[in-house]
């Protein structure tokens, strides 16, 4: 599916795909969430099924037919869509074992408001992540398949960003936008928000993790990437109990599932 695509797929898109495929190969049911595009749902589901099959093949006691992955369309630039998507998932799945969020974009644009008035980049890197986690808390608390607790994993810049010093004067980055501030505030807010959720008694069964990824990118491709301003991965997913969340053994999940690219102009 995304093999044909360009460099964007090799970076941001790759990590979400890689994680989804790896978990599918371990017997997790995946609910992939991303922007709607013609043919995407079939493409994603087919890929995830291949990942599942690669894990099932050496475990004769299990059947890949038991696992039905899902694709849910959602434009994470709009928090109202995030809310609706989350509500639908909570209604359809009582328990969720893990929430992984990798949506993001690399851009040199300035503050660019979404239809709801928040900055595009910060919306993907933080606001939408906070919204998803908050709205899915009921299902994450109801997970029964994870002996060590359910997991919320936000993959961005854990451990490498700096604090954003103007969190009081300019909390939404409307006046002091810069590339550095945009990067720092997103990572900083991920730390602060998920730390707050983690200490709440109701969330004692949930593990909150802010991760940092680093993928290979050549200088040539980096220049191309930045010069084209846009690109993002809105692929994040959850594993859902009740179907098959038990490991089926250690398999190698090579490639990754699905691709999602856009131009920033698309949403304006």
């Amino acid at each position: 599916m995304c093999v044909k695509n360009d460099i964007i797929n090799n970076i941001y898109i790759g990590i979400g795909k890689g994680i989804a495929c790896r978990l599918a190969s371990e017997g997790f049911q995946i609910i992939a969430v991303g922007r709607q595009k013609e043919g995407r749902e079939a493409e994603v589901l087919d890929y995830l099924q291949q990942c599942t099959n690669s894990g099932i093949s050496s475990n004769s006691s299990s059947s890949s037919n038991e696992i039905k992955h899902e694709f849910r369309p959602c434009n994470a630039f709009e928090l109202s869509q995030v809310q609706q998507c989350s509500k639908d998932i909570v209604n359809d799945h009582k328990g969720i074992d893990a929430l992984v969020m990798t949506q993001g974009m690399a851009t040199i644009q300035g503050f660019t408001p979404t239809s709801e008035g928040t900055d595009e980049k910060l919306t993907l890197h933080y606001w939408s992540r906070a919204a998803f986690a908050n709205c899915l808390l009921p299902s994450l608390r109801s997970s029964t398949n994870m002996q060590g607790g359910s997991v919320v994993l936000s993959i961005l810049s854990g451990g490498v960003h700096s604090p954003y010093s103007k969190y009081k004067e300019d909390p939404e980055l409307k006046k002091s936008y810069s590339i550095a501030n945009a990067a720092n505030i997103a990572g900083y807010y991920n730390d602060l928000f998920f730390d707050k959720l983690a200490v709440q008694d109701d969330n004692s069964s949930i593990n909150f993790v802010h991760g940092k990824f680093q993928v290979r990118l050549s200088l040539h491709k980096f220049v191309w990437y930045i010069s084209h301003i846009s690109s993002l991965d809105q692929s994040f997913f959850f594993s859902v109990p009740g179907v098959c969340c038990k490991q089926l053994g250690n398999r190698n999940a090579s490639v990754a599932p699905y691709t999602n690219k856009r131009n920033a102009k698309d949403v304006r």
Partner: protein, 80 residues
């Protein structure tokens, strides 16, 4: 520019999930080792990372209030 392949990176990133699924320890230490609760920071090699020096109670509350306001404008209410 260096880094890992997406597949290799994914291999590291799924470790906490697989560990929790198996009933094992999540495999990360909390940044504040004197605390029993809090957010885990995970570096690209799945080892534990640190919080920033600006990670204060005041900043946490300010972030929470801002997030509450922003999500409220979209019709989302934060759980207290």
């Amino acid at each position: 520019m260096s880094g890992k392949s997406p597949d290799k990176c994914a291999e590291y990133m799924v470790r906490p999930i697989l560990a929790c699924s198996n009933g094992e320890n999540i495999g990360l230490d909390l940044p504040n080792k004197s605390s029993k609760k809090g957010v885990y920071i995970m570096k690209e090699d799945a080892s534990a990372g640190k919080l920033t020096k600006g990670h204060t109670d005041e900043a946490i509350e300010s972030c929470w209030k801002t997030t509450k306001d922003v999500l409220h404008r979209a019709g989302i209410e934060l759980e207290e």
